[in-house]
């Protein structure tokens, strides 16, 4: 169990912009690791990040970042780095000057600031362009220099608002590796992203948001399991898909069975995964079916997102 001071805690936090709801009664306790905030535009992802970093003040409730209140920037930003979605930079500054000046405002000496600047720029792979003006950077390079700004003082908590936006596939893979590396070192990394496939790849846990409310929280598998009202999809690869399909269809929990388009398996929708899997073992043994794999077909972020957010929105 992670102690409370090692967590990012939201206690009944609400934020209103005048009459407009930002987030409502949010309770969170985020442990170290990679946590993704997922939700459509206007769901409150950036509001949560801005509240975490004190750029916004909650209308109600309390926030503690590793035990530190966000209205204490002196202590907070020794421990927190924030890569905002916002794309504005001091005019005329090179990437190197941008970071160096930021670190001087932190209070670092010339020698320390220079060394930390070089290290951060190297880490995000921008050494070759560090002396060029940020204004001439591509979208991906600007994203990297913002990331360098967030990590240059080696914070324990990294908050990244859409950090993979504008990056090419190679750069994305490098950034994801960097996030994993930082996470493995015990850092908290909070990411908001629309790229669900990547969220699924890198997240230890997800927080699904919709219209200012947290609709689900936890690791993807347990969030999916807790959605008991929704059928679970299972993909079975086997040598006799048609035979298996006919047997599966007889089970009371089965909602739908489809032969996979490549003919090498079946896609099953069941409303009671536990009882189905017990019965499934019997079916396989009784019919002498050789099963190559049984995998959840919709236990990824995308499916959870579809169920919880898109379908609720359509309902």
């Amino acid at each position: 169990m992670t102690p409370a001071s090692d967590r990012l805690v939201f206690d009944n936090v609400s934020k209103f912009y005048g009459e407009v709801l930002g987030i409502n009664r949010v309770d969170l306790s985020i442990p170290p690791g990679i946590t993704s905030l997922v939700g459509p535009n206007g769901s409150g992802k950036t509001t949560i990040m801005n509240l975490m970093t004190g750029l916004l003040r909650p209308s109600q409730g309390e926030i503690r970042m590793l035990g530190i209140r966000p209205d204490n920037p002196e202590e907070l930003f020794r421990n927190v780095g924030y890569c905002t979605q916002f794309d504005s930079f001091p005019r005329g500054a090179s990437g190197q000057q941008f970071l160096y000046n930021y670190l001087r405002v932190h209070g670092h000496t010339h020698a320390d600031a220079t060394e930390m600047t070089e290290r951060a720029i190297e880490r995000v792979g921008l050494t070759h362009a560090s002396t060029r003006r940020v204004a001439g950077y591509s979208k991906g390079m600007r994203q990297r220099i913002k990331l360098a700004q967030a990590i240059c003082h080696e914070p324990a908590v990294l908050i990244l608002d859409e950090p993979l936006n504008g990056l090419d596939p190679m750069a994305r893979a490098e950034m994801i590796d960097l996030f994993r590396e930082l996470s493995a070192a015990g850092q908290h990394i909070v990411i908001s992203s629309h790229i669900l496939h990547e969220v699924d790849l890198i997240s230890d846990q997800v927080i699904l948001l919709n219209e200012g409310y947290v609709v689900a929280e936890g690791d993807i598998q347990s969030v999916r399991t807790e959605m008991s009202g929704r059928p679970l999809q299972i993909l079975v690869r086997c040598d006799k898909p048609r035979l298996l399909a006919s047997r599966v269809f007889e089970h009371e929990s089965t909602v739908e069975v489809r032969i996979h388009e490549d003919g090498g398996g079946i896609l099953i929708s069941t409303k009671d995964a536990d009882s189905f899997l017990i019965a499934f073992n019997r079916m396989v043994l009784d019919n002498e079916i050789r099963v190559a794999s049984v995998t959840p077909a919709d236990a990824d972020v995308h499916a959870v997102y579809q169920y919880l957010i898109t379908q609720e929105g359509e309902a």
């Binding site: 912009y17 535009n41 206007g42 769901s43 409150g44 992802k45 950036t46 509001t47 801005n50 970093t53 004190g54 750029l55 916004l56 003040r57 209205d71 920037p73 002196e74 202590e75 907070l76 930003f77 020794r78 924030y82 905002t84 979605q85 916002f86 504005s88 930079f89 001091p90 005019r91 005329g92 000046n101 930021y102 001087r104 405002v105 932190h106 209070g107 670092h108 000496t109 003082h153 608002d161």
Partner: protein
């Protein structure tokens, strides 16, 4: 802790002084500063072409009177005033418009230390530029029209420079706060301009609610405002200067209070 704050203020000074005097934001500052210098050189040029200065401005005391008028009307009450308005109002408002304030807000720096750092940088920038303007105009007029004893002139010049520094302090504090509280600070800037300009004609009590009134005791030479001027006892120097500093300090506290409550909205999300 104090040394950390000092290092942080130095970091802000590095950035902000550059922004105030070496970026496009500095252009209005330099244009305003060029006006009294240009006027001075036009006066000198015209006098050279005509052959001799006007009789009322000939000789050492003439140059002193001429500079007193130029300083009060061409520097203190106009160009310096609007330069202070421009630089100090944009200290935070300009950052909000440029959407760059978050870089400071994401640093481990107390927001009131940020206020102090930004204020100091603006004060240094405007004070240095207008000190140079004052020295150039003062020097040019006295070199051309003749000068009194050097020690006397040095005292006068120092008094004028002190007025520049104090005016930057007083007006700067007011307009930095105005930039924090108001969406359109141009209206208060114009209103205060007329209030300060008409100070000589205000009743004694109202005079005290102006910056210029507290600078009066520093003027080496007063200029006549005409027959309808209402004379009021100037504030003694030993009250005026500390009072100015206390007033600016209190205004900075107010700015610190406001900046601590300030929020930044990045997107509509």
């Amino acid at each position: 802790m104090k040394s950390l704050w000092w290092r942080q203020i130095q970091g802000i000074l590095r950035l902000e002084v550059r922004k105030s005097v070496l970026s496009m934001r500095a252009l209005p500052l330099y244009l305003l500063a060029a006006i009294p210098v240009t006027v001075t050189f036009i006066v000198v040029a015209v006098s050279t072409i005509v052959g001799e200065p006007p009789p009322e401005f000939s000789g050492p005391s003439g140059a002193t009177s001429l500079f007193a008028i130029l300083f009060q009307l061409g520097i203190l009450r106009s160009t310096l005033y609007f330069a202070v308005v421009w630089i100090f109002m944009n200290l935070f408002r300009g950052e909000v418009l440029d959407r760059s304030l978050h870089y400071y807000f994401l640093s481990p720096i107390r927001r009131d230390v940020l206020v102090a750092g930004k204020f100091a940088s603006a004060w240094v920038s405007v004070s240095v530029v207008f000190s140079v303007v004052t020295i150039v105009c003062f020097g040019a007029l006295h070199v051309y029209f003749g000068s009194a004893a050097l020690t006397n002139l040095t005292g006068q010049l120092f008094a004028y420079l002190a007025i520049v520094w104090m005016a930057c302090l007083g007006y700067g504090a007011i307009f930095m706060v105005a930039g924090l509280f108001m969406r359109n600070p141009v209206i208060p800037a114009v209103l205060i301009f007329f209030w300060e300009g008409g100070n000589a004609f205000l009743p004694g009590l109202l005079k005290k609610f102006s910056v210029i009134f507290y600078l009066q005791s520093l003027f080496p030479i007063d200029i006549s405002k005409g027959p309808i001027e209402i004379i009021a006892e100037p504030v003694p120097l030993w009250i005026g200067i500390p009072g100015f500093i206390v007033f600016s300090g209190l205004t900075l506290l107010l700015a610190g209070f406001q900046i601590r409550r300030m929020e930044i909205h990045y997107t509509d999300d």
